[in-house]
Amino acid sequence: MKMLKPAIRLVLTALFVWAAVAKIADPRAFQDAIASYHLLPWLPGAVATVWLPWLELTLAIALWQPRFSRTSAAMLAMLCAVFLVALVQAWLRGIDITCGCFGDSSVVSGADYLPYLARDAGLVALAVVLWRLEKNAAPVETDAASYNPLVH
């Protein structure tokens, strides 16, 4: 159990750094992927294209910063939940999409959706488990800024 938290953190970091770097490397392909979901108008889609990969990277790195690890795990869980909702709506609407998740440009349709849905659900679960573990392990926070040695 002791190794569970760093193991989950490592898996999430590796996956989200991979996802972020793939998107940053080819923003036009990621823009096409976002457009294929038929969810966002052009401008919000373009902003998401530029911002989302950096958010993934920031959150992945922040998992290793004790002050931010719990918040980062919660935000990753929410982000994966949003991706999951986007996938489900596309699946239910019968749209052929490009996932755009890890820089993969293959078309997803019909039964192809199932592994993607399972993977996203797994990521949500992993992030939630990490959030819970961080919560249980969180020490009483000492705020360096408010610490006054003269008082102690």
Binding site: I24, D26, P27, R28, Q31, D32, A33, I34, A35, S36, H38, W42, G45, A46, V47, T49, V50, W51, P53, W54, L55, L57, T58, L59, A62, R67, F68, R70, T71, S72, A74, M75, D96, T98, S105, V107, E141
Partner: protein, 138 residues
């Protein structure tokens, strides 16, 4: 409210990094400027070609049968070899080819145009940038 401050800080860091990528990475900047890409043609440019252009519908047969650009030929990856024959029969060197699919973001038209250029020698194949329904459906 500590979690809210931390969340806002992480969101802001990502926004700053995204802004820097737009400033220093031309590919990221092109996303926000919606700059045209290689082998793309706008709806207006395609319409100006008139009857001189060969239109290729890269969607599924069901979508094609539900409605397509007047005179377009169906060509998709599901039946590439079979559907390519009428395209090659119709195409002549120098004839502009416009490939389209569902929307601005769909990938099928890019893939089909790429294959037409690489495998069939149709070097004039371009991807329609915009909605095919604005061209004139049948």
């Amino acid at each position: 409210m500590d979690w809210l401050r931390k969340s806002a800080a992480l969101l802001a860091i990502a926004a700053v990094l995204g802004g820097l990528s737009v400033a220093f990475n031309p590919a990221a900047r092109a996303v926000l400027l919606d700059a045209p890409r290689d082998h793309e043609i706008t709806v207006a440019q395609a319409q100006a070609l008139g009857a001189a252009a060969l239109w290729i519908d890269a969607r599924s047969r069901a979508d094609f049968e539900a409605g397509h650009v007047d005179g377009a030929l169906l060509l998709n990856e599901d039946a590439w070899s079979e559907l390519l024959i009428p395209v090659i029969e119709r195409w002549q060197p120098g004839m502009p080819v416009v490939v389209y699919c569902d929307s601005h973001g769909c990938q099928a038209s890019r893939k089909i145009a790429e294959r037409l250029r690489a495998e069939a020698g149709v070097d004039t194949a371009k991807v329609l940038r915009g909605e095919w329904s604005k061209v004139g459906a049948r």
